[in-house]
């Protein structure tokens, strides 16, 4: 059966069988896992740092407007910033707002942005929390509002506001919620630790989300190397007496944690290009998001802390933390025994998709799942960048079945239309192509650049279109008013010269008649023909 040829409805039907058996996706890489090193010790909650930097942009969307100003006292969990319809930002501690200023804020750009700097008072005094104890009976809309008020965003990396996704899901007949626990990038182990330590919370979150979305069932997808996790999750599901949750193991292959790839593995179907999982009746959320949902709904706790892995060959004692948002990474590094001597690069996220940090002063944000310290040896390339030899390795591993070698040339040379046609926007920036390229071309950098340019061009195009319309409207308006004025003037004139005009008309008709007789050779001077003449010339 060719799954690509099915109709949309058939695909949704088929997607209901998600998880029954696993499928393959194109390409991908088997990478060394390197997760063990950070899973040896239990997760600890670090002591409070001297000050916390809470960026006002920790999600996809606009920068939040702060509610507080320098000098204000804040309580733990108090909302300190919001923008409609983004996720709310909360204070992770109780203390004083020292300043609101631009600081490096853990954004991939490395740019500074508005942050609230809070000095903790050490009392850890919570603000008043509103929880929804009886969530089983609550209206989904109430739940969604609760998620929004608690500042929930996807913790799998995209930090997309959860309430938006949930609200959209309610309108789209979601039948299956997929919890993404297949943390596929090397080194990162925060989701695994979470699933080991708090399976009940994840199951609870899954049930709440299921209700919120109106889905029938939940699939928790984990990697086949996480044996203990499966047991823990299944036990938790059994304890909750929840039949609709199943735990599915998928083979470890990067980037299977990518939503589209995971869906392909679970259903054998592809999310339509330019579409979303909800087109198949699916919603995918990270397991940590689910745990945070449980906290938010049952305890009313906003999203102020998350699991963070601090690992890599550049860290003396890699481990996981349950860190408050806003904690500087340097604080966590110090608690992990500090750096080794040959540390050379800091990365937030995994080695494949993470972004580099210029300084370890930057704070933990909602998106920070891992701080990876790499040594010079780790990042040393055996060869400089060379021209592409079109070997096709990149295309073989590309999970989006693109032709990275062609895309690269198109982006590099600004052939935007062609790049569009070759699916630049379908690139998930997974880095597989980059990793195998024998020419060491920074393909993903090029694709990120290209996608940025394309977005820019699209914006420009709408702006241009808008300007054109406004210009044309204005022209039309001016023309109309001019004509109206002229008509008015003419009417006045006519009124004045009524008589004279009449005489003129008589004169004119006499002249026409004379004209006719003066041209004997022309026996058919159709009036239409004459009328058209001025146009013709």
């Amino acid at each position: 059966m060719n799954r690509a040829l099915l109709s949309a409805a058939e695909k949704v039907e088929l997607a209901r069988e998600a998880g029954k058996r696993t499928h393959h996706f194109h390409g991908g890489l088997r990478l060394r896992h390197n997760k063990k090193i950070s899973c040896q010790d239990p997760v600890i909650q670090p002591p409070l740092p001297a000050s916390l930097t809470v960026p006002l942009l920790q999600h996809i969307g606009d920068v939040a407007e702060p509610f507080v100003s320098a000098g204000d006292a804040v309580l733990k969990g108090q909302a300190i910033g919001q923008c409609q319809p983004c996720a709310t930002i909360h204070s992770p501690v109780s203390g004083t707002v020292e300043a609101i200023e631009n600081r490096p804020m853990g954004h991939p750009s490395g740019q500074a942005g508005p942050c609230v700097i809070i000095r903790p008072d050490g009392r850890e005094q919570w603000t008043g929390l509103t929880s929804i104890e009886n969530w089983q009976d609550a209206n989904p809309e109430t739940l969604i509002n609760q998620l929004q008020n608690c500042g929930l965003v996807g913790l799998g990396g995209a930090v997309f506001p959860t309430h938006t996704k949930a609200r959209d899901g309610r309108n789209r007949n979601i039948h299956t919620l997929i919890l993404n626990g297949s943390e596929c990038e090397p080194y990162i182990s925060c989701d695994e630790m979470l699933m080991r330590e708090q399976p009940e919370k994840i199951v609870l979150g899954a049930r709440i989300l299921r209700r919120t979305l109106g889905a029938e069932r939940v699939i928790i997808a984990i990697e086949d190397q996480m044996g203990a996790v499966q047991k823990a999750l299944t036990r938790a599901a059994d304890l909750a007496d929840c039949k609709s949750i199943s735990v599915v193991k998928v083979t470890t292959i990067y980037p299977e944690g990518g939503e589209r790839q995971l869906i392909q593995v679970l259903t054998g179907l592809e999310v339509p290009a330019g579409g979303r999982p909800s087109d198949l009746g699916l919603v995918c959320q990270n397991v940590a998001t689910a745990a945070a949902v449980a906290d938010a709904v049952v305890e009313g706790k906003p999203l102020i802390e998350r699991y963070v892995t601090v690992t890599g060959n550049g860290i003396a004692h890699p481990r996981n933390f349950k860190a408050l948002l806003g904690t500087p990474f340097s604080h966590l590094v110090a608690l992990s025994g500090g750096y080794t001597d040959d540390v050379a690069r800091l990365v937030v996220g995994g080695p494949m998709m993470g972004y580099p940090l210029a300084s370890d002063d930057e704070p933990v944000v909602k998106a920070s799942n891992c701080l990876l310290a790499l040594t010079a040896k780790d990042i040393e390339a055996p060869q400089p960048e060379m021209p592409c030899i079109r070997c096709g390795e990149c295309a073989r591993v590309c999970p989006a079945t693109l032709l990275p070698q062609e895309l690269h040339l198109q982006v590099r040379n600004g052939l935007w239309e062609q790049a569009q046609e070759y699916g630049l926007s379908a690139c998930i920036e997974c880095g597989c192509c980059d990793f195998v390229c024998p020419s060491h071309i920074p393909l993903v950098d090029w694709f990120r650049y290209g996608k940025g340019q394309q977005r820019e061009r699209a914006l420009e195009k709408t702006a241009t279109e808008q300007a054109r319309m406004r210009f044309e409207n204005r022209e039309a308006r001016l023309l109309k008013s001019k004509q109206e004025r002229a008509a008015k003037m003419a009417a006045r004139k006519q009124l004045l010269q009524g008589k004279a005009a009449q005489q003129d008309r008589i004169k004119a008709s006499i002249a026409r008649a004379e004209n006719k007789t003066a041209k004997p050779g022309n026996d058919n001077p159709g009036t239409g023909e004459q009328g058209k003449l001025p146009d013709d010339t």
Binding site: P384, M386, P387, C388, L409, R412, N413
Partner: protein
């Protein structure tokens, strides 16, 4: 029309806007008949003659031609001139006529000629038109000869072989052997060699022109590994 203008036309036609090397028109004869210098020279002269006569006539007629018959009219004029030349060659240079073959009547379609008629002669007075025809023809002829020389030397190691076809029997003694005992390098004689030779000629001209332009501008030796446009 001052002397300076005419000189300008001469330089433009024969070097700056050289049909073969810059404008890339008239490529077919340029590649097809240049396996020896003499062939090139002969066709070059014939083309030059055609250009001058056609420019002259087009310039004379420039007042009357309406757009829809402009091209047919030019073509008619050129074709007449070329046929005359063809008949004369057939009568007086029969061997050459046979060697150049179909490319003599095809002078008619040498895009350069109609191009000059259209772009220059139909807009200018008679004298500049003739000078332009001469200059363009000269440029074309020089290119033909250069290309012929390049191919003949590389291919055969000789120059001016077959001169008797153009000059009569005494031409036989003009043949110069540049590389004695040259093992024929057939590539130069075959179609691919023609393309390569012209490419090299144009590249040489480009290199010459750019060097002239920026003698003080030192070329940078650090360059990208690949695909970035300059």
């Amino acid at each position: 029309m001052s002397k300076g203008d005419l000189k300008q036309i001469l330089v433009d036609g024969s070097w700056r806007q050289n049909t073969g090397l810059v404008v890339l028109l008239g490529l077919c004869p340029l590649l097809a008949v240049t396996n020896t210098v003499i062939n090139g020279l002969a066709l070059g002269l014939a083309t030059m003659l055609t250009l001058m006569v056609s420019n002259l006539s087009v310039s004379l007629m420039r007042g009357f031609l309406r757009p829809e018959i402009r091209i047919p009219a030019f073509v008619l004029i050129i074709a007449s001139v070329v046929t005359v030349i063809e008949l004369l060659m057939q009568a007086f240079f029969y061997d050459l006529y046979r060697v150049l073959g179909i490319f003599i009547p095809l002078i008619v379609t040498n895009c350069a000629i109609i191009g000059r008629a259209e772009a220059f002669a139909s807009r200018n007075k008679v004298l500049p038109a003739i000078v332009d025809g001469f200059a363009t023809g000269l440029g074309f002829c020089i290119t033909l000869v250069l290309l012929g020389a390049l191919r003949e030397i590389i291919g055969h190691g000789t120059l001016l072989s077959g001169a008797q076809m153009l000059l009569g029997d005494w031409g036989q003694h003009l043949v110069i052997t540049i590389v004695p005992g040259h093992p024929d390098f057939l590539l130069a004689m075959l179609p691919p060699g023609a393309f390569f030779a012209l490419a090299l000629l144009i590249a040489a001209r480009n290199a010459w022109e750019t060097r002239k332009e920026n003698t003080q501008n030192q070329p940078v030796t650090v360059l990208n590994t690949g695909h970035d446009p300059a």
